[in-house]
Symmetry: C2
Subunit: 223 residues, 2 copies
C-alpha cells in the first residue's frame, strides 16, 4: 500500500475505493481488469474540466481560440509531462514487454493512465474532485497559456495575414523530391508575390515542408 499512497499524495486525492485506483494503474498488458474503460471516461472528464477552465478564464476568446487552447493543453505531450511529474511510471502495472518500451510509446501509456486516474476519481467522487486534481497536476500550465495566434499552423497564419491586408495568397511549389521511399525528403518553395519574398524548406512530407516554408516567410514578415 506504500506505493499507491505516495502516488495519491502527489495526485492530491485519496481514494475511497482503492480497487478503482488499482484498475486505473493497470495497463492492459498487465491484467484483465485494466484501465482502458476508465481512460475513455477520464478523457471526457478532462475535456469538460479544461473546457470550463478556459471558458471562464478567457471571456473574450472565440470558440476557435478556445478549441486551440484546449488542444494545446490536452494532448499526448502535455499529459505525458503531467504523468512524469506524478511519477506515474513507478505506480503503474505493465506487462514485461511494455515495461521495457521507451520514448513515445511509454509516454503515451502514461498519458493514457493519467486520464484513467481522472476517470477513477470521477467514479470515486465527483467532477469537483476531478477539477481539484486537474488544477493540482496541471498547475501553471493552466495559467500560462500561449499566444493564441502561435497555435494556428504557419500556412493558415500566413494566409490570414495576407488576406487581412488584401494581398494575394502565397504560392507553393515542389522543388525536389529525393531519398529512399521510407525516408523521402521534400523541398518546397513558398513565394509571396506582393511582398517579393520567398523561402525554401525541406521536410519528410510535402505538407510539412510547406508549413516550414510558410513559417520562414512569417519570420521574415515579423522581423
Amino acid at each position: 500500500m506504500d506505493r499507491p499512497t505516495g502516488f495519491e499524495s502527489r495526485l492530491g486525492y485519496r481514494f475511497k475505493d482503492r480497487a478503482l485506483l488499482e484498475a486505473a494503474l493497470t495497463h492492459r498488458s498487465a491484467g484483465s481488469v485494466h484501465n482502458e474503460r476508465l481512460e475513455f471516461l477520464g478523457d471526457a472528464v478532462l475535456g469538460l474540466i479544461v473546457a470550463t477552465e478556459l471558458y471562464r478564464r478567457l471571456p473574450d476568446a472565440s470558440e476557435g481560440e478556445l478549441s486551440r487552447f484546449r488542444a494545446s493543453l490536452v494532448n499526448g505531450t502535455m499529459l505525458g509531462s503531467v504523468a512524469l511529474e506524478l511519477q506515474l511510471g513507478d505506480a503503474i502495472a505493465m506487462g514485461s514487454g511494455e515495461l521495457k518500451s521507451g520514448g513515445y510509446r511509454r509516454s503515451s501509456i502514461l498519458a493514457d493512465a493519467f486520464e484513467a486516474v481522472l476517470g477513477a476519481v470521477y467514479l470515486d467522487s465527483d467532477l469537483n474532485a476531478c477539477r481539484e486534481v486537474v488544477r493540482h497536476c496541471f498547475g501553471r500550465r493552466l495559467e500560462t497559456l500561449p499566444d493564441p495566434v502561435s497555435l494556428i499552423d504557419p500556412k493558415t497564419r500566413l494566409q490570414e495575414w495576407l488576406q487581412s491586408r488584401q494581398l494575394r495568397l502565397p504560392e507553393y511549389r515542389l522543388l525536389s523530391e529525393r531519398g529512399e521511399p521510407h525516408e523521402r525528403v521534400f523541398r518546397v518553395e513558398c513565394r509571396v508575390l506582393d511582398l517579393s519574398i520567398e523561402a525554401e524548406a525541406e521536410a519528410s512530407s510535402r505538407r510539412k515542408a510547406q508549413q516550414a516554408a510558410a513559417s520562414r516567410i512569417l519570420e521574415q514578415i515579423e522581423s
Copy 2:
C-alpha cells in the same frame, strides 16, 4: 417570453438566468452575443454525460465499443433529430440568410444550438441538471443502442472476421474508373481467396467502393 417558455418545457429545464438561454439560442448571424462559446462548452458537457451513461449501462463493453457507441449518439444527424423534436428551429434567432438555408446546413446549425443550450444549462446550474436534460431529450436513443459490431465499417469487420479464423486477408482490385472528373465512378472487386467468394461494387470513390464490396462479402458470409 412565451416562445422561450414553450421551448423550456420541451427541454425539461427552466433557466434562472434567461440571458444564458438567449445567448444559446442566438446564431452568430443574428447577434454579437451568440452561441459559439456555449457550444464549445456544451460539446464537452454532452461528451462526458454520454460517456458516463455508456460506461454505466455497458459494463462489458470495451473502450473501442464505448467510443463507437458514443460516436453513434453524438453526431450531427443524431443531434439534428434531437433539435427537431425540441422545435429548436422555432426558438433560435438567425440572420435572414441563414433562416432560408435548408437541409444539412440548417440541421447542423440546430445541432450546434442544442449543444449551446446544454452549455447554458451547465453554467446556469450543474452537470446533474444537464444529465436530466440529456436523458429527457435523448430518451430511447440512450436505451436502444445498435449492435456494436454494426458500427464498425465493413472493411474492418471483414478483416477482423477473417483474422479471427486465421484466413488470409481479402484482396481489393480496381476494375474500372469512369465518368467526368466531378462524378467519377469507381468499380472495385473484393475477393476472399480462402472462401472462394467475391463481390463487386461501384461508388464515387475507391474507398467507398471497397467498403460496399466488403459489405456484400459480409452479406454472403452471414447468409
